[in-house]
C-alpha cells in the first residue's frame, strides 16, 4: 500500500494519468483510497466556473465541447490543456488512502562546503522557521548571495523529520541546473526534477524540484514549499500560479520565498512586519554590489533609429577601468538586438559580437559560448537579466527608460556584474534619455543593500 501512497499521495490527477489497470483502480476506489473530484468548481451564488486543476476562471479560456464520449455539451479547460484535457465528464482524482511515508535518515545532507557568516545567519533562520512551522518567510538575498547553499541546512532538517519538500521556480533551466547540485547534496533522498520537457512528470519523491507549472498536478502534498525568484515571470504575472502553489501545500506548511527583488505587495507586507524577512545583503565573496551609473544620452533615440550606438557609449566603452572584461549590453526589444549587432561588429572588428533573445534557437549555445569567453560582446534582451552567472563582465543598458526595464529588472541586470571572487567589481551603466522612477529606485535599493551589508560586517568585527 505504501507503494501506491508514495506514488499518489498529494497528487491531483486525471484517470489517464494514473497508470493503474482498471481492476486495481476500481478496487482502490472501492476501498476509498481514491476520491473523485469534479473537474470544475462553481462558487455559491455565482455562475462562474473555475477549473479545479489550474484555477482558470476566464471565460475565453473555458471552452465548450459537444462531447461525443458522454453525449453532452459541456465545458473543458483550455488553459491547462497542454497537460491533458480537464472536462466536466473527465473528473480528477486524489489519493485518500494512508499518507506517504519516506525512509528516515539521520544525516541526509552530504554537502561539505562552508557558508559565510551572513549565509550562516540566514541558514539558521531558515532552520528555525521550519522547526517552528512558521507560515511564511521571505529571504531577501542579493544577486549572487549563494541562495541554494543557504537552503541545504533547512532542507536537511525537514528530511530528517520525514517531511516532504518542494523547490519551485518559474524557469525550466533553473530546474535543470539545480538538479545535479541537490543530487550531490542529498544522495540518499528520493529526488525528482519536473519541467515541461523532462518526460518523468509522473514520478514522485520526497524532494521535488519543479517549475511552478508542474505543481498543477499536486494538491496538499508538501510540508515545505520554497519558491525561488517569486518576482519572476510568469509567477507574478499569472494569478493562477499562486493559486496552484497554495493548493499544492499542506495546511500547516512552511512557505519560503526567495528573491533579490521582491514586488510591491511582498515589500509592503515585509515593511509592515506582517511577513517575516531575513536579509542577505552581502554576496558570498563579501564585496558590495556595483552601483549603476546613469548617463544622460541626448542623441539616444536618433542614433537608435539609425541603428548605431550613441557616441557617449563609445566614450564609456574605451575608458573602462578593465578593458579585458566581456561586455553585456541590454537592449529593450528583439528588433533592436538584431539591428545593432552588425554595426557593433563593424566597430569592433577584432572581437566576436553576437545577439541573443527569447526566440533565438541557439540561445543556450550562445550563452555557453559567452561564458567560455568565445564571445566578447553580447547584445541581449531582458532574457539574461536573471539566473545566469558570468565571471567577469561590464554591463550596459541602452535606453534604460524603456518600459521593459522596471525596478526589478534593473536591479537584476546590475546584479550580473562582479559575480566572481577574482573580479568582484564590474561596471554597470544605464544610458537613458531622462531618468525614470525605476532607475532611481533600483539604485536606491542597491545602495540600501550595501549599507545593510556594512552594518552586518561591522557587527561581526
Amino acid at each position: 500500500m505504501n507503494k501506491y501512497a508514495n506514488r499518489y499521495d498529494g497528487r491531483l490527477l486525471l484517470r489517464s494519468e494514473i497508470s493503474l489497470d482498471e481492476i486495481t483502480f476500481l478496487q482502490l476506489r472501492n476501498e476509498k483510497k481514491f476520491q473523485r473530484l469534479s473537474a470544475f468548481i462553481q462558487k455559491r451564488y455565482s455562475s462562474q466556473l473555475q477549473c479545479r486543476r489550474c484555477g482558470n476562471n476566464k471565460k475565453h479560456l473555458l471552452g465548450i465541447i459537444p462531447c461525443q464520449a458522454c453525449k453532452q455539451t459541456h465545458h473543458y479547460c483550455r488553459n491547462c490543456i497542454e497537460m491533458g484535457r480537464v472536462m466536466t465528464c473527465e473528473p480528477l482524482y486524489i489519493w485518500t488512502g494512508p499518507p506517504a511515508k519516506w525512509p528516515s535518515q539521520a544525516d541526509p545532507c552530504q554537502w561539505s562546503g562552508e557558508l559565510t557568516h551572513v549565509q550562516q545567519r540566514a541558514a539558521e533562520r531558515i532552520v528555525q522557521a521550519i522547526q517552528a512551522k512558521e507560515k511564511e518567510l521571505l529571504i531577501w538575498a542579493v544577486c549572487g548571495a549563494g541562495k541554494t547553499e543557504m537552503l541545504f541546512a533547512g532542507i536537511a532538517h525537514a528530511i530528517q523529520a520525514g517531511k516532504r519538500v518542494c523547490l519551485a521556480t518559474p524557469r525550466a533551466d533553473v530546474v535543470r541546473e539545480l538538479y545535479p547540485r541537490f543530487q550531490q547534496a542529498f544522495p540518499n533522498t528520493t529526488l525528482v526534477a519536473l519541467h515541461g520537457g523532462s518526460g518523468n512528470n509522473h514520478d514522485t519523491a520526497q524532494l521535488t524540484i519543479t517549475t511552478t507549472h508542474q505543481l498543477l498536478r499536486y494538491q496538499q502534498a508538501f510540508d515545505i514549499m520554497i519558491i525561488d525568484e517569486i518576482d519572476a515571470f510568469p509567477f507574478h504575472a499569472d494569478q493562477r500560479l499562486p493559486f496552484v502553489t497554495n493548493r499544492s501545500v499542506k495546511k500547516n506548511a512552511t512557505m519560503l520565498y526567495l528573491t533579490a527583488t521582491p514586488r510591491k505587495n511582498l515589500k509592503k507586507r515585509s515593511n509592515k512586519g506582517e511577513l517575516a524577512t531575513i536579509f542577505v545583503p552581502v554576496r558570498y565573496h563579501g564585496q558590495p554590489l556595483p552601483v549603476p551609473r546613469l548617463k544622460m544620452t541626448a542623441q539616444l533615440a536618433r542614433s537608435l533609429t539609425r541603428a548605431k550606438l550613441p557616441t557617449i557609449f563609445w566614450g564609456w566603452y574605451h575608458q573602462r577601468s578593465n578593458p579585458n572584461r566581456q561586455v553585456l549590453i541590454f537592449v529593450p526589444t528583439i528588433a533592436q538586438a538584431n539591428h545593432l549587432t552588425e554595426p557593433l561588429q563593424k566597430n569592433l572588428p577584432q572581437q566576436t559580437v553576437t545577439s541573443v533573445h527569447a526566440n533565438d534557437p541557439d540561445r543556450t549555445e550562445k550563452v555557453q559560448q559567452f561564458r567560455n569567453k568565445q564571445i566578447d560582446t553580447l547584445l541581449t534582451t531582458t532574457i539574461l537579466e536573471r539566473g545566469v552567472t558570468f565571471p567577469s563582465v561590464d554591463v550596459a543598458v541602452i535606453d534604460a527608460g524603456h518600459d521593459v526595464f522596471d525596478e526589478a529588472a534593473l536591479v537584476q541586470i546590475a546584479g550580473r556584474a562582479g559575480r566572481s571572487p577574482n573580479d568582484p567589481t564590474g561596471e554597470v551603466i544605464f544610458f537613458h534619455q531622462g531618468k525614470t522612477e525605476a532607475m532611481l529606485a533600483a539604485i536606491r535599493v542597491i545602495k540600501q543593500m550595501n549599507k545593510k551589508a556594512c552594518v552586518i560586517n561591522r557587527e561581526k568585527s
Binding site: 479560456l61 461525443q68 464520449a69
Partner: protein
C-alpha cells in the same frame, strides 16, 4: 474578444470601410492569421496543391491517375491552408490535445474558400465527414471533420464507419497507400444524392479520401469531390 491561438485581446482597427460595412468578427488576431498561409492559384487541378510548374497536375496525382481503379475517383480536392509548421502546431493542439474550439480560427477562410472552389454544386449535394474509429472518438470526444463540416451550408451524412487501430500519422507514404480500406458503409446513400463532398482536416497522400470515395462510388454516387483544411 481574445485570439484563440495566442490569447491576445483582438482590438479591431476602425477604418471608413469597416465603419460602414462591419467586418465579420474573427476569433483569430491579425498576427496569427498572417501566419496561417492560404493556398493560392495556380494549383494542381486534382489535389489542389499550390504549384508553379507548367504541368496541370502534380507528380503525386499523375501516379494516382496511372492506377485504373483510383483514376478520377475524386474529381478534385481543394484545401484552404498550406500544411506548414504553424498550421501543424494548431492542428496538433486541436486534434491531439483536444482543444475543440480551435476550429473557429478557420471559420471565415474555410467558408469563403468553399464558396470560391465549389461555386455551384449540383443539387442536392451532401457532405460526408471522414469518421474516426469509435475508440478514438471516445478518447478525443469530437470528430474534427464533423466540426469542419458543420461550418458549411450543406447537410452532412455520417454514412461511413471506420474500423482501424493504428494511427495514420505514424505511417510513411508507402504504408499509407498500401493500407486496406478502413471504412465500411453503415447506411445507404440517399437515392437523390448527385454529388458528395468529402470533408477532412488534412490531405496528405489522398489515400484516406480515395478509400472513402470508393465506397461512396459503389453506393451509386458519381460526382465526388473533397475539401480539406490543409494540404
Amino acid at each position: 474578444m481574445h485570439c484563440l491561438s495566442c490569447n491576445q485581446i483582438i482590438v479591431p482597427e476602425i477604418t471608413w470601410s469597416n465603419f460602414i460595412l462591419p467586418d465579420r468578427l474573427s476569433n483569430c488576431c491579425s498576427t496569427c492569421s498572417e501566419k496561417m498561409s492560404l493556398i493560392h492559384d495556380p494549383t494542381c487541378s486534382i489535389c489542389g496543391r499550390e504549384q508553379h510548374s507548367a504541368q496541370k497536375i502534380c507528380s503525386d496525382c499523375s501516379r494516382w491517375q496511372a492506377n485504373h481503379r483510383m483514376k478520377n475517383l475524386i474529381l478534385y480536392n481543394r484545401s484552404v491552408y498550406h500544411y506548414d509548421d504553424f498550421i501543424k502546431s494548431i492542428v496538433a493542439r486541436w486534434k491531439y490535445r483536444g482543444d475543440y474550439q480551435l476550429y473557429q480560427l478557420f471559420t471565415i477562410n474555410f467558408q469563403e474558400k468553399f464558396k470560391q472552389y465549389f461555386p455551384k454544386p449540383p443539387k442536392p449535394t451532401y457532405l460526408v465527414p471522414i469518421p474516426l474509429s469509435s475508440e478514438r472518438l471516445k478518447h478525443r470526444a469530437f470528430n474534427q471533420a464533423e466540426a469542419l463540416a458543420q461550418l458549411l451550408p450543406y447537410p452532412s451524412l455520417n454514412i461511413l464507419t471506420r474500423t482501424e487501430g493504428e494511427k495514420q500519422s505514424k505511417k510513411n507514404r508507402k504504408q499509407r497507400i498500401m493500407m486496406k480500406n478502413p471504412f465500411t458503409l453503415n447506411r445507404e446513400l440517399p437515392a437523390e444524392a448527385k454529388s458528395v463532398i468529402l470533408i477532412d482536416d488534412i490531405y496528405t497522400t489522398g489515400t484516406t479520401l480515395r478509400h472513402a470515395a470508393t465506397l461512396i462510388q459503389q453506393a451509386g454516387c458519381e460526382q465526388i469531390c473533397s475539401y480539406t483544411l490543409a494540404r
